[in-house]
């Protein structure tokens, strides 16, 4: 409807391998990024602090899990714990070396998470499917236990919690209480864009194709010369890296202080929902999933009273919560029935339809 793809010819391999081969896609993406940045100045505090920042953080974690579950086909229920490793590592690093900029430590903390992730990924060579999922639960519960039990991780804080000390970038506070939602949002947005761009390069390249080959059939992939152990461990490491960075962002740029409980098993499930609802093996799906699973309950919390109260039915806070649970549950089932391949597929279908509109085919 809006544009035609026809007429754009590639004359060399590099252009053909581009992530966004279409000019219109590049323009569209540029627009999205522009809107995202301008939201920092247009949105109010609630929108930034309670909606957009967590949405971006969860999208990043969902991308991480998607690399593992969607691209490599390894189901993991330890996402929450891997996020926790990133957050605790970041805390240790930024308090031990306060002179180094916190942005550096956020990126570095992911490597600790990657290491731990690869360690717990070792059984994946032998164990598959749901068996592996339950094995990753061992990581979840063991790491969570470590977070509580090793006071060294929180610098022997009496409260046993992670606290966000003041850290600045170019003299502007970005971590700590005095950092405004605008600056936090801009930092998170930039980090998420950079890492998403990296991820899309990874999954479209040789490594991504290796992962996909392993997912589709690991035996066949092995016969083709892909080493399953290395590939799977790499997937675990990269996935945990993303989760770790997301965890560090979660604590230091969103909450600004947290207990170990933030990284519990529910967090792992929460991210898994996003990945599956968004679409396995799709980066844009991770964003869709995070939007649906995280933002929808917030919207429901605003919409439900607005629907019921004009009708003269007062609706209590807890009833909203109950209805939220029911509606989210029902919608998960509904979306799975409508499109088991997730919102990303719906998006694709929508694009196809629009492309040929107004003709049906």
């Amino acid at each position: 409807m809006l544009y035609r793809e026809a007429g754009q010819f590639k004359t060399n391999y590099v252009a053909d391998r581009a992530i966004f081969p279409l000019r219109e896609d590049r323009i569209g993406l540029g627009l999205i990024v522009l809107v995202a940045y301008s939201l920092a100045f247009l949105g109010n505090d609630f929108l930034l602090q309670a909606v957009l920042i967590p949405f971006l953080v969860f999208s990043l974690a969902a991308i991480g899990l998607n690399i593992l579950t969607g691209y490599t086909g390894l189901l993991s229920l330890g996402t929450g714990a891997f996020m926790g490793v990133g957050a605790y590592a970041c805390y240790k690093l930024m308090t031990a070396f306060p002179e180094v900029n916190v942005i550096v430590w956020i990126f570095v903390s992911g490597f600790f998470s990657a290491g731990i992730g690869a360690l717990f990924g070792l059984p994946s060579l032998r164990i598959k499917g749901f068996y592996l999922a339950v094995a990753t639960l061992a990581a979840q519960f063991f790491l969570q236990w470590c977070f509580i039990r090793i006071p060294w991780l929180v610098n022997y804080n009496v409260s046993g919690a992670l606290e966000a000390p003041l850290r600045t970038l170019f003299g502007i506070p970005i971590v700590g209480a005095t950092a405004t939602p605008q600056t936090r949002y801009l930092v998170v947005l930039t980090i998420v864009i950079v890492l998403t761009w990296l991820a899309s390069n990874l999954v479209h390249g040789r490594i991504g194709r290796m992962w996909i080959a392993i997912r589709d059939m690991d035996l066949a992939a092995e016969l083709m010369g892909i080493r399953p152990l290395q590939t799977k461990l790499l997937a675990f490491a990269v996935s945990s890296y993303y989760c770790g960075v997301a965890g560090a962002l979660l604590v230091f740029l969103w909450y600004g202080g947290a207990e170990y409980d933030v990284f519990n098993i529910n967090q792992s499930f929460f991210i898994l929902f996003m990945v599956i609802i968004g679409g396995l093996g799709s980066l844009i799906g991770s964003f869709f999933g995070a939007a649906l699973i995280f933002i929808m309950p917030i919207v429901l919390g605003i919409v439900l009273p607005a629907i019921f109260e004009p009708l003269g039915i007062p609706i209590a806070a807890e009833t909203i919560e109950h209805l939220r649970f029911m509606i989210v549950g029902a919608l998960i089932i509904f979306f799975l029935i409508v499109e088991p391949h997730g919102l990303a597929r719906l998006w694709q279908i929508g694009k196809q339809k629009l492309l040929v509109w107004p003709f049906p085919y």
Partner: protein, 318 residues
């Protein structure tokens, strides 16, 4: 050396010194093992017949117990309430089959797994909407479940047996026995096994998959009800009970997803293993290792047998 002594010698010395405590620990492990097995059994039933990894089993335990107690609080006699709860589980099974399973037939495992998450969320919201969030007391005496304790003197000490635990063990064993007979001797049981072997082959000989699914979900609902009564009597009926269902997962991978005896033996190994581990070795690291010990035990077993102790051998072909 000291640490090695503490790990390898001291616990065993202590076991020998206080054999009554060892027996008590084993008994507690046995009871919790049976109760874990009861939850795991619900998973196995559904996985065997439909290949669905039913995450909602945990909330079904809570939900059934809540219906039972809720009905009783409305003045329904206890035994009638029990029957009605059974009916409610049947309705749930029918609804799940119609609304969730049938439209999702032939989808990948992970999608069905996800759908049961949706079901879990729905049931949490629905249950809280109807019954409220406050914990309730299980109607133990009204269901003629015994209460009280027997203290048996033995081995220079004493061992306490809760009557409720004994009853739980007996009821769970009967339940398992009945299921075993049901699976091996009845027509429906044979149909179930056929479905477990191959959906297509079962369909071709005229077995209705939809009917079978309703039956297994109903059976899983009944198992959940029994588990709900037992856990409820031990710890009170509240939504936090569903977390215990996570304990059934290591039992499952240890025993294999498709094996009923596996669930029982897995449950016992996990139950006894974690109690012994926590009691004798837990203090070395400050206790509380129970939360992950079960998973680690299961993981170690898995490294030797990736399909679980009793699971079907996974044969891969290209």
């Amino acid at each position: 050396m000291d640490i090695l002594y503490k790990i390898f010698i001291e616990p065993f010395v202590f076991m020998g010194e206080a054999p009554d405590l060892l027996i008590q620990t084993l008994w507690e492990g046995l009871v919790s093992g049976i109760l874990y097995a009861l939850i795991a059994l619900g998973f196995v039933l559904i996985f065997k017949a439909s290949g669905v990894f039913n995450f909602a089993q945990g909330i079904m335990v809570v939900f059934s117990a809540l219906i039972l107690v809720g009905l009783y609080e409305q003045g329904v006699p206890a035994l009638l309430a029990l029957l009605l709860t059974g009916g409610a589980m049947l309705i749930l099974a029918l609804t799940v089959e119609r609304v969730v399973l049938r439209p999702l037939v032939n989808q990948p495992d992970i999608i069905l797994f996800m759908a049961t998450f949706g079901l879990t969320y729905f049931l949490i919201g629905f249950g809280e909407l109807i019954f409220g969030g406050s914990p309730k007391e299980m109607i133990t005496s009204e269901l003629y479940l015994p209460q009280g304790t027997t203290e048996v003197e033995m081995l220079g000490g004493f061992v306490r047996f809760q009557h409720l635990d004994i009853a739980a063990t007996v009821i769970a064993s009967i339940m398992i026995g009945l299921l075993a007979v049901f699976f091996s001797k009845t027509r429906i049981g044979r149909a179930l096994r056929a479905v477990a072997d191959s959906h297509k082959a079962a369909l071709s000989v005229g077995i209705s998959l939809n009917q079978i699914w309703v039956i297994v979900w109903f059976a899983a609902g009944i198992v959940a009800l029994v588990a709900g009564i037992m856990w409820g009597a031990r710890a009170g009926v509240s939504f936090s009970l569903q977390i215990i269902a996570l304990k059934a997962l290591p039992v499952l991978i240890l025993g294999g997803f498709t094996s009923i005896p596996g669930a029982i033996i897995g449950g016992l190994i996990i139950g006894i293993g974690e109690k012994l581990g926590e009691f004798y070795w837990g203090p070395l690291v400050g206790g509380g290792i129970e939360t992950w010990l079960a998973y680690v035990i299961a993981l170690l077993f898995l490294l030797y047998r990736p399909q679980g102790l009793f699971g079907e051998k996974i044969i891969e072909r290209i």
